[in-house]
Symmetry: C2
Subunit: 272 residues, 2 copies
């Protein structure tokens, strides 16, 4: 299991109560300290991503899947930007999940997910994910209770398949308070360069905040597994959130202990 | 037509001779001047990409397709890295094209290409492309001459469809000398962190250099169109090459004249 000592880990098999988890933390002394941490971690991630890319053709090259889940305005886009600011797009792919299309609804809910999992040497960031199928689907009753109940086990099985076949899975819940969401929604309306992000429909989800928190809590309880545990990240402060997540990603990439492959070719063997 | 005054443009309808095109240029006084230009242009591209991303949901949001073609070691990966170093991966996707798979070979050669074209608000970089179907396929006679001959028109038609349906297409041939390729292949063998990029098979293509140059020349002559012209970039110097390409991309994105959408929502209209 990655990072057994992380204070943000939802330890598999242990009780989990979302309200016990903070939405704020003071691990950084200042905003500039958090910014400096992100910058430094971002550089390290860029280097690790480059070695991962070099390994894409190797037999056992890992695939990396990062899942970002959180309420509207929790910072899924911003975290992606902050974490991969210095990493070129060669082997990094962002996969957003919107409401399913008709052809997607005509299959099981993991069909569209399986289609876009990372390949060897690739880092894929899920902005929302198959977890929406036990979150919004549950809260809004788009599926019946038994169907949703079955999904926790199905998701665990699916993720175990991916891990056993060579994926590293890192799952983050971006945990914000209801007050922080209010501030950010208001900021979207006030700033002309943010207004395009505002969606009046988000207010409908906001009205169901307690139901969503219940659904998130159950999600973490039921799907934080040894092969793919959840990290619940205090996300009221943007820089702190990005710095924490980036650091967990950096550590996980570092633990892969990858090196540039040596295919055995040497200068003397070729007449160029 | 974008950039009608660019010295690198292969003007549609005009005679084109590849050997007339330089593989070097001295537009930068120094290596550091070229590096500074890339950095500055990269910042501008990052901002333009962000506005493009904000427009993804708009009715007429453009889609951006960048095609990079060139011999092995010409710098397709490096150009991508240099150009998008500061741009987060939210709406940038790199699409490499390798030898086609069996299911791909069972369809027409544009089938797999059509599947991965950019969507609204997205920038997609083709690392190699459908042009391999008139390059390596022609030189190695993987298809008969008449089939290849038909493809120039088919490609022009396909690209016109994309452009008429809202894509911007920028095509770059990374033009290196045979001597530069030799140096770079040798460097790959000598540097442990580059050795994974070496492929003895590349030497087979290298042995057919004149045939490839003929195929590139014909490609540019036949497919530099008003809707999707070719730029032939002096690429013996890495920094200069990246700076020139990045600048053409920046200008093209800038010419889209995009702004943050205003959906009309205002703070006073919502109780948050």
């Amino acid at each position: 299991m990655p990072h057994p000592d992380s204070p943000y880990l939802a330890i598999p098999g242990q009780p989990f109560t979302l309200s016990d988890r903070a939405t704020t933390t003071d691990i950084f002394e200042s905003r500039s300290a958090a910014k400096a941490a992100i910058r430094q971690t971002g550089e390290a991630i860029a280097e690790l991503a480059q070695v991962l890319y070099a390994n894409a053709g190797e037999r056992n090259a890992p695939k990396v899947l990062i899942v970002l889940q959180g309420m509207d305005t929790s910072g899924k886009d911003s975290t992606t930007k902050a974490m991969f600011r210095q990493t070129p797009p060669l082997n990094v792919r962002v996969q957003p999940f919107k409401a399913p299309t008709k052809p997607e609804l005509a299959r099981d809910y993991l069909w569209r997910v399986h289609d876009v999992v990372p390949k060897k040497g690739e880092i894929v960031i899920f902005n929302r994910s198959h977890y929406e199928d036990v979150l919004v689907v549950k809260v809004r009753e788009f599926a019946d209770a038994e169907t949703v109940e079955n999904r926790y086990g199905q998701i665990n099985d699916f993720e175990r398949l991916l891990v056993e076949e060579g994926s590293l899975i890192l799952k983050f819940m971006l945990n914000i308070s209801r007050e922080t969401q209010a501030e950010r929604l208001r900021a979207r309306l006030e700033r002309p360069d943010k207004r395009w992000k505002f969606n009046p429909g988000d207010l409908d989800d906001r009205a169901l905040w307690p139901d969503f928190m219940d659904a998130y809590e159950t999600m973490v309880r039921r799907t934080s597994t040894p092969h793919a545990p959840w990290y619940v990240i205090p996300s009221d402060d943007k820089k702190t959130r990005s710095a924490i997540i980036a650091d967990i990603v950096r550590q996980a990439l570092d633990a892969l202990d990858l090196h540039y492959p040596d295919p055995g070719y040497r200068p003397g063997n070729y007449d160029i």
